[in-house]
């Protein structure tokens, strides 16, 4: 009787699926790329939110063409975390969104940390340290570098909130994605007056009111419902950040299991009924998009590392597997510290890759490949151990 559409808008592409709740089956899927803006200085990673909208429209349209549209009852949107979509008073995008992977805001993090009284005080007040990827330093960056744009700023939204805004016309934020802004007091799930004021007195008026994640964002705007061919009044749920929505899609909505996601960066997270704040600030004390919390660890060096080894040797994926399998577990003592991009957990921003244990046996393609795969997995395990140490 009922179909629900799920959308995941990522850094470089968007996916949509249709779930038939009666049969519990995914009955349609579609995917489309969207572009990052090229030619920016190192560390700057930006995208045009309008591109996300047109790519989302394309994949929802493609899914809609494969299903009985009259049965669609709701849409839920997942989006890359932390990106800053700046809107003016008419809801128009002021400038491209700076993304989670933009590291140009390290000076702003230092300023905000100082204003709140140092790293320990920040964790006491919000539960999370200010990291360059988070939203708050991006807002301060706009104020410091583009004052004319900052003057026009009336609404601060995250990527998935902007897609929700497109679908419903409502400015809305739920706890899960909001917990990655740096503006949220994650323990109490309210905006942190101190964090907002540290950026600017106007920030409090630009953030939407917070809603629990089970509240709907709204209903599809009639003209969009008509375009997709969905019933009038189709619901748009709160949505959330991609890790929060990945938790739901892996059934990680009650304590007991851990989800590991191996991508360009790797994340490892678990549902918790209570806030899990890391005094060292290594585990991100996020909220879930299901009414609980989602302590999470993000490492920067996962598939990017193994991909670079693969291309270095000119291998296909199957070649990589075959060669890695030619060396024994543990690679005869060869191991790789995989920090090709530096690392954030453990906190080694100036770190590099290090092969350790080279000898006459291990200096070979198979061993180098296997040690890279093992090394990146050991990097993810750092997070699993840290979660366990915090009692998750």
């Amino acid at each position: 009787m009922s179909l629900y559409i799920g959308v995941d808008s990522g850094t470089q592409s968007v996916k949509a699926i249709a779930l038939d709740l009666d049969t519990s089956r995914v009955v349609a899927e579609a995917r489309a790329p969207h572009q990052l803006i090229g030619g920016l200085p190192p560390g700057h990673m930006e995208a045009h939110p309008e591109e996300w909208v047109s790519a989302m429209d394309a994949v929802i349209g493609e899914v809609a063409a494969k299903i009985d549209r009259s049965r669609v009852r709701g849409i839920g949107v997942s989006g890359q975390q932390h990106g800053f979509v700046p809107l003016d008073g008419d809801g128009r995008v002021i400038r491209p969104a700076k993304l989670w992977c933009d590291t140009s805001t390290a000076p702003e993090c230092a300023i905000l940390t100082r204003k709140l009284g140092g790293p320990a005080a920040v964790i006491r007040k919000t539960g999370l340290p200010f990291l360059p990827g988070y939203t708050a330093p991006k807002v301060l960056w706009l104020k410091r570098h583009e004052p004319a744009n900052f003057k026009r700023l009336r609404h601060i939204l995250l990527p998935h909130d902007y897609l929700n805004f497109h679908l419903t016309g409502n400015y809305f934020m739920e706890h899960g994605d909001a917990s990655g802004t740096g503006f949220l007091d994650v323990r109490r799930r309210v905006w942190s007056e101190a964090a907002m004021a540290a950026v600017d007195a106007r920030v409090a008026g630009c953030l939407p009111p917070l809603s629990p994640s089970h509240e709907p964002c709204g209903t599809l705007r009639p003209e969009i419902a008509a375009r997709y061919g969905f019933p009038a009044g189709t619901l748009v749920s709160a949505g959330g950040g991609d890790n929060m929505m990945g938790a739901i899609g892996t059934g990680n909505v009650v304590p007991g299991a851990v989800t590991a996601s191996f991508g360009t960066s790797g994340t490892i997270y678990a549902y918790s009924r209570k806030p899990v704040v890391d005094p060292k600030g290594e585990i991100a004390a996020f909220c879930s998009s299901t009414g609980g919390w989602l302590p999470l660890l993000c490492t920067m060096n996962v598939t990017g590392v193994t991909e670079q080894v693969r291309t270095l040797f000119g291998w296909s994926l199957a070649d990589l597997e075959k060669n890695a399998a030619s060396a024994p577990a543990g690679s005869d003592g060869l191991t790789l510290l995989p920090y090709l991009d530096g690392e954030r957990t453990p906190n080694l921003p100036r770190g590099t890759g290090v092969y350790f244990g080279l000898n006459r046996t291990t200096l070979g393609r198979g061993h180098l490949a296997r040690a890279a795969i093992e090394g990146t997995t050991l990097g993810m395990n750092y997070g699993l151990r840290r979660l366990a140490a915090l009692g998750v």
Binding site: G6, D8, A260, V354
Partner: protein
């Protein structure tokens, strides 16, 4: 291999697009509340989220012990090399 490193059983999801599936499930959850017949999210998930049991791996005892030692070596290298990384 992941099971040996993590020291726990590891299994892949049947559906690769977990975040999109999560979106659809959250919408179904939200809709059930709006219609006055609230479903538990965990129940919705257990019906619609499937594991690919053919991929399930349990840790091999000997390998898991080997990777515990390897992890200790990583920890040691990290702390021993910290100064060298920063001086670079």
């Amino acid at each position: 291999m992941a099971a040996d490193v993590f020291g726990v059983p590891v299994v892949a999801m049947a559906e690769d697009e977990s975040a999109a599936l999560g979106g659809a499930l959250q919408a179904a959850w939200c809709d059930s509340k709006g219609r006055g017949s609230p479903a538990a999210l965990a129940a919705l998930c257990s019906r619609s989220v499937a594991l690919d049991e053919s991929t399930r791996c349990v840790p091999d005892k000997a390998n898991a012990a080997l990777f515990r030692k390897r992890q200790a070596l990583h920890d040691r290298l990290c702390s021993d090399l910290r100064g060298a990384f920063e001086a670079r």
